[in-house]
Symmetry: C2
Subunit: 298 residues, 2 copies
């Protein structure tokens, strides 16, 4: 198949840092717009502590809606047993587990050691209802806000442990800070795919302008599943100007120009990107959405 | 040498579309700021018809200033004999010739056929004072606003004719619309370098978000000279939101993360980028300049 699967993460990664609560109807409208744009994989929210991330408190309701959309594979993020139980109660049938490659980011983000995270998540992999598709996301696999550039072997060592949990599970190697370098991305995925096959996904941000370049590097290494956010939304209200996930429309355009199928419906994708970018508090990113000639060409 | 040469084009490509005349002192301040940032190659202006592009009417004065900066290789663009003569009169000692790969863009931009442009520029190559470094720029080598995606053989056929003019001359293969695809960029440079050696430069825009990805593709194909504009300025006041050249700071950061020497002085480069972005009428682009954490990391 000459194609890639694009996974929409705006409803989760794009919204989670917005300080003001985004109404559930707005989140549902965004999910619907992305679905209408032809996107068939989506991270619709996360079951994390509503005290830590109040923005995700209504993930259950968003999931309820998303599950009705035919053919949509909707995932919710789960960092631990409590989140797993909440996800099951809410009727989730696809899970996204996550932990960090670096000890200091895992502690800052999840308030526990990597060993504790891995043990907890390994138990969830064992205990999840048979046939539940699970993706295991490894944050800060390339660069960490506390530890800087991550040694490639450290990332691959954790990948190896995660591979051992399940022979089929999708594993996302994630550039959380947007500071992965294209050659680093290419090398890690080449090594991972050579060792463990084509089960890997790439999740990247565009903070330093390397977002699309890193997607290309991962694609050339053999990756065929990519996360992106319509409108490039994300960022943090406490770091003005910070950008979020690489923009879905930029990634989809790049693949289109490379002759790679994505399944997107262009006018609807631009509408979804515009909708995401207009959500109060969202910090939009990306390039092609803003250029009239580019929009017209699409 | 594990390094690349970055050529600053903000004073020319970044400013030329601004409707309001940018005062000569502002242009000179920008040249100075880029020089202080460690950039040692620069396109300081162009000798084109001041009726067609009034913004470049003071290129002679900017060149006068730039020539005093020790170690700066400053180029002026020249589209034809009249421009060549004006450049010589103004004391230019490095020339950037240019024409388009596509007939329709050459006619729209230079009001003549490619055959006429090539004949005129070939005569300039022959007649320029011995030892004058000349770069030959080929616009719309990947994508044309009128003809769409440019067949690779069409670009390479023109490259071959230009190669024949001089055994040493640098040749820039340019993505004028920002719509070149990374695989296309890689293939063209691989073929050009295999046929004619490492004499090629890449000039790209970031209109669709592929700017940095295309720089990586050209680098991996063997290119070691890149154009970029501090602040990513450019765009056209008649196409709101259009972005300009790929941002110098994003390109320099990507090379830094890849361990490739650029010679830039980071705090000064960010200052130059901020200055460029603040010029009234300029449409800034790029990513990392806007992110406080990224600026701090630099």
């Amino acid at each position: 198949m000459n194609g890639v699967a694009l996974s929409e993460v705006a409803p989760r990664d794009g919204l989670q840092s917005i300080g003001t609560f985004v109404p559930t109807e707005t989140k549902i409208a965004l999910v619907k717009a992305c679905y209408e744009a032809g996107l068939r994989r989506m991270e619709v929210g996360s079951f994390v502590s509503p005290k830590a991330i109040p923005q995700m408190a209504d993930t259950g309701a968003v999931l309820q809606f998303a599950k009705q959309l035919e053919g949509l594979e909707c995932t919710v993020l789960v960092p631990n047993r409590r989140g797993f139980e909440a996800a099951m109660t809410a009727g989730a049938d696809r899970l996204g587990l996550f932990m960090s490659v670096t000890e200091s980011h895992n502690k800052a983000n999840l308030n526990r050691s990597r060993a504790d995270s891995l043990a907890d998540l390994a138990a969830i992999v064992r205990e999840a209802p048979k046939g539940t598709p699970i993706r295991f996301n490894l944050s800060c696999a390339f660069h960490c806000p506390f530890e800087g550039v991550v040694p490639e072997q450290a990332a691959l060592d954790l990948v190896e442990q995660v591979v051992a949990l399940d022979p089929e599970m999708e594993i996302a190697i994630c550039d959380t800070t947007g500071n992965a370098a294209p050659d680093q991305v290419r090398r890690i995925f080449e090594r991972a795919i050579a060792a463990w096959g084509k089960r890997f996904a790439y999740h990247g941000h565009d903070t330093y302008g390397m977002g699309v370049a890193n997607v290309v590097a991962a694609y050339e290494a053999g990756v065929r599943v990519f996360d992106a956010a319509s409108g490039g939304i994300g960022g943090c209200p406490f770091a003005p100007g910070a950008t979020g996930n690489v923009a879905m429309e930029d990634v989809a355009w790049m693949f289109r120009r490379m002759g790679v199928e994505t399944g997107v419906v262009w006018d609807k994708l631009l509408a979804a990107a515009d909708m995401a970018a207009a959500i109060p508090g969202a910090v939009p990113g990306g390039a092609m959405r803003r250029v009239p000639a580019a929009r017209k060409a699409a």
